[in-house]
Subunit: 405 residues, 2 copies
């Protein structure tokens, strides 16, 4: 018996899916008893949505963006069709309405391809870890920025040079702004936070920073402490709520995300019960994402696993504890370290490692401080930035401690 | 409405499951509409199987070994009960009969806890990658040996010393023979190979070697090439069949499994479509394995995803291509390297790196050779071992190349 798939969008992922399907149809038929086939394709210039919907058992939405994707997905579910999508914008901004529509109409809405490509983090959060109380999710969920940071560290390139290289190799779009400013990663972390913590999380509630301001110097100095830089997304439970954020951070070599290089993505899930699980793989790419989409299609052909109604309503909080790398350019005179140390101490910021390097009549003071409430660290930095001896604005980057094994 | 779980076995994992369940019952009820409860516990000294079966919707089998676990699991499925098990021996030796019984009686047989503890490799192979054609699975699937190798590399301990340390810390059993000789890992690789390649694989068809013969010297020399040692399980598709094996191997630092230390487990799945996915986490431990078991229970409470009948019948093959590290103790006289190189060349074994170190009147010759058919390498080694200049039996260990990222 045929299982009819209506395909909305025929870009990189859509065409890869159409190419992948025929070679896997026998295996899928053996698995499910149904033979998958593409019943219609909607592109910018051809196809009619209502016509395709009428001829489909399931809709795959790969258009991206909010409209018309939102209307199509909603209409499909209201017509009793399962939907598979890879649309992170849509889910991070309208996820609750869509998940509710899926429950209301008894259909499946699956979206493995929306976060970290083929890395099966959605299924693992929804199914494998359904019985675990999750404490934290850390992710490298943007391949473009991870490629750029890997290149900067490897070659000493500036951000602009590494971005140009990423564009040349197809790892960055012509307009890379949502990747490099952290917004793309923020959308993905909103989705992961929703699943991990059963709390509605909208993209607007995720604080994000990008990597445009990273100096090659910082990468080099940090290497002396054994640190490597990543753009990290974090969603974590605190006594008073849930924190979801995206920020560049140094990792110690033993951190489970430290060895994730190039355009790869990775996610670590921590919980008292499970200790931690880390999953990594290609975060993008037509065939890779199409494979994640196809896994969802097959699951919808067998039976359901729905996103349940949000059962917790944790507030979104912002002030969390972090360790920091701090880089200061100062006058090379006696007492400077003492002045800086005093201002840090005033805010209870405690220094873990420090290196001072003389450069003619000025000096560089590079340090790593122990974890501290971020508001306190930034208050100390504000005070330090007003010191007469400072020769340039201070630079700070978060540092993740190695927390396990 | 209650969902009644009959628990067979009350050791580390069973008692952890019983402890975990009450705290998660509300969440599971919200997710599934059913409230899980333990309806009976069978231990060595108390409980009656038939009585527990009659009062259960699902049986969790955590007894281990073949009998009576096999009879209980079969009886439960024939009575229409879902079964969740963490029993690798049972599945690697009687998997086909059990999966067939599950299909025949329309019940689920889930076993995430049987391989790599909380690392969700079973679900990912069965569901996420249902649409992918898998080329290879590499795994570190025994935490005891990974802990021992990590300690040996870190401290220079001998195998016996590191084993004693592992026993002291609870990472090795009083009788560690199935762990250190590779048989435990072989059982797990049989299960993974079955799922990845849709071919029946019995434990007896898996070739395995352990780590008892590893010298601390080898770990030290290999470090000069940047290599670290792991006990690796491999299941891979070849033009002429499927290879499933367990062996100690050096990994280059960039290999996705290289950074997996201590008692952690990890699995890498490779496929042309997906490139690769790597997953890591604690490979054992009561709460961790109980969490994997609970994820399976919840999935069985919602609906099915069955292990399909084997659709391919690939033969099991043994001679594969590997790179090797080779360690020779030889007389310190001219022409020795030439003699060795000639014998290697005779079998088309090509040298990648070589280091020679003089030691009074003898020398150490340590080399890494390029990938070559194993039968050819061992033929060369056999010839080399007969050289007059050899002062000790040659030692060889496989080396995994970095293949991605």
């Amino acid at each position: 018996m045929p299982f009819r798939i209506g395909l909305l969008g025929h870009g990189t992922v859509g065409s890869a899916l159409a190419a992948l399907l025929p070679g896997r149809a026998d295996r899928i038929e053996a698995l499910t008893g149904l033979r998958p086939e593409i019943s219609g394709v909607l592109t910018r210039s051809s196809g009619d949505f209502e016509d395709i919907l009428a001829r489909s058992d399931l809709i795959v939405e790969l258009i991206g963006g909010i409209e018309p994707a939102y209307s199509y997905v909603l209409r499909a579910m209201r017509s009793g069709r399962h939907v598979v999508t890879a649309n992170k914008q849509l889910l991070s901004q309208h996820g609750e309405e869509l998940w509710e529509a899926a429950r209301e109409h008894g259909v499946q809405l699956r979206f493995e391809g929306a976060v970290a490509g083929v890395v099966p983090i959605i299924r693992v959060l929804q199914e494998s870890l359904a019985g675990a109380s999750i404490d934290r999710v850390h992710g490298i969920v943007n391949g473009t920025t991870n490629f750029i940071l890997t290149e900067m560290a490897r070659t000493g390139m500036t951000f602009a040079e590494a971005l140009a290289e990423a564009q040349r190799l197809g790892y960055a779009e012509a307009d890379p702004s949502e990747d490099v400013d952290g917004r793309d990663a923020a959308a993905k972390m909103a989705i992961l936070a929703r699943l991990a913590f059963d709390t509605p999380v909208h993209l607007d509630q995720v604080r994000y920073e990008g990597i445009e301001q990273i100096h090659p110097d910082d990468l080099e100095y940090a290497r002396e402490f054994g640190l490597g830089l990543k753009l990290i997304g974090t969603a974590e439970r605190h006594p008073d709520g849930l924190s979801v954020r995206v920020y560049p951070a140094f990792l110690y070599p033993g951190h489970p995300l430290a060895s994730v290089g190039g355009p790869f993505n990775a996610v670590t899930v921590e919980s008292e019960t499970i200790t931690e699980i880390t999953m990594s793989g290609p975060g993008a790419g037509g065939p890779q994402t199409a494979s994640a989409v196809l896994g969802d299609v097959i699951s919808a052909m067998i039976p359901p696993a729905s996103t349940p109604a949000a059962t917790q309503l944790l507030p979104i909080i912002h002030d969390v504890v972090s360790a920091f790398y701090l880089h200061l350019e100062v006058a090379d005179e006696s007492g400077v370290l003492a002045q800086v140390a005093q201002l840090l101490a005033l805010q209870d910021v405690s220094v873990k490692s420090v290196v001072q390097m003389g450069l003619r009549n000025q000096a560089r003071l590079v340090m790593v401080v122990h974890p501290v409430l971020e508001s306190r660290f930034f208050a100390a930095m504000e005070l330090i930035s007003r010191l007469d001896v400072l020769r340039a604005p201070p630079r700070a980057i978060r540092v993740l401690e190695q927390e396990f094994g």
